[in-house]
């Protein structure tokens, strides 16, 4: 399923809404999650999962081609942990 198919499903369920409003709604939800993580916040959606930011420490890396050592800076990466309900649903039956 891709973004446009998700929008279509929600639009079909809500015939009283304009398609372009459904589009804005779906986009707002995903945008808000990214913005929260960009601020370093967590987004916890019970039953679905939680988006959070993990810190990766600075380290000395190596260029695999040349074997040369390179300093890799500390960085922050997005992380998703599946919620219990969804995890259970994936393994039903």
């Amino acid at each position: 399923m891709i973004r446009s198919e998700l929008i279509q499903k929600v639009a079909d369920e809500n015939p009283h809404l304009y398609q372009r409003d459904v589009e804005r709604i779906v986009n707002t939800i995903f945008e808000e999650i990214i913005e929260a993580m960009a601020r370093g916040d967590r987004v916890e959606l019970r039953g679905f999962g939680a988006f959070s930011v993990k810190q990766r420490d600075a380290r000395v890396g190596r260029n695999p081609r040349t074997g040369e050592s390179v300093q890799v800076e500390e960085k922050h990466v997005p992380f998703f942990k599946t919620g219990k309900l969804l995890r259970d649903r994936l393994n039903e039956g």
């Binding site: 369920e13 601020r39 959606l45």
Partner: protein, 100 residues
């Protein structure tokens, strides 16, 4: 980092501000989006949201695990797990926003 936790309520508040719907209906739409994504994943589909990321379901085979406290071997049954791969855009924005 501000270290806050957002919930469904915060997402529905954003939807409420963005589109002229009631708070109640905004909350229902957030729920509807999450359940359509969940249903697709439970059906074994991959959910690919451009410029956000990709959720995919992977099959893990059975293996023998170990209770780390007692050292006892325990069988782990085959299971399906969900993985999320963030888009480049998300990775870049999260890295930039949290730069110290």
């Amino acid at each position: 980092m501000s270290d806050k936790t957002l919930t469904r309520m915060d997402l529905s508040e954003s939807v409420f501000r963005e589109v002229g719907l009631s708070r109640n209906e905004s909350a229902q739409l957030v729920e509807s989006v999450l359940s359509h994504v969940s249903d697709a994943l439970v059906a074994g589909e991959t959910v690919k949201i451009s410029s956000f990321g990709t959720f995919s379901v992977r099959d893990k085979s059975a293996r023998v695990g170990r209770n780390p406290k007692t050292g006892e071997e325990v069988p782990i049954s085959p299971r399906r797990v969900l993985t999320f791969r963030p888009s480049h855009l998300m990775k870049d924005r999260v890295a930039k926003g949290n730069k110290s």
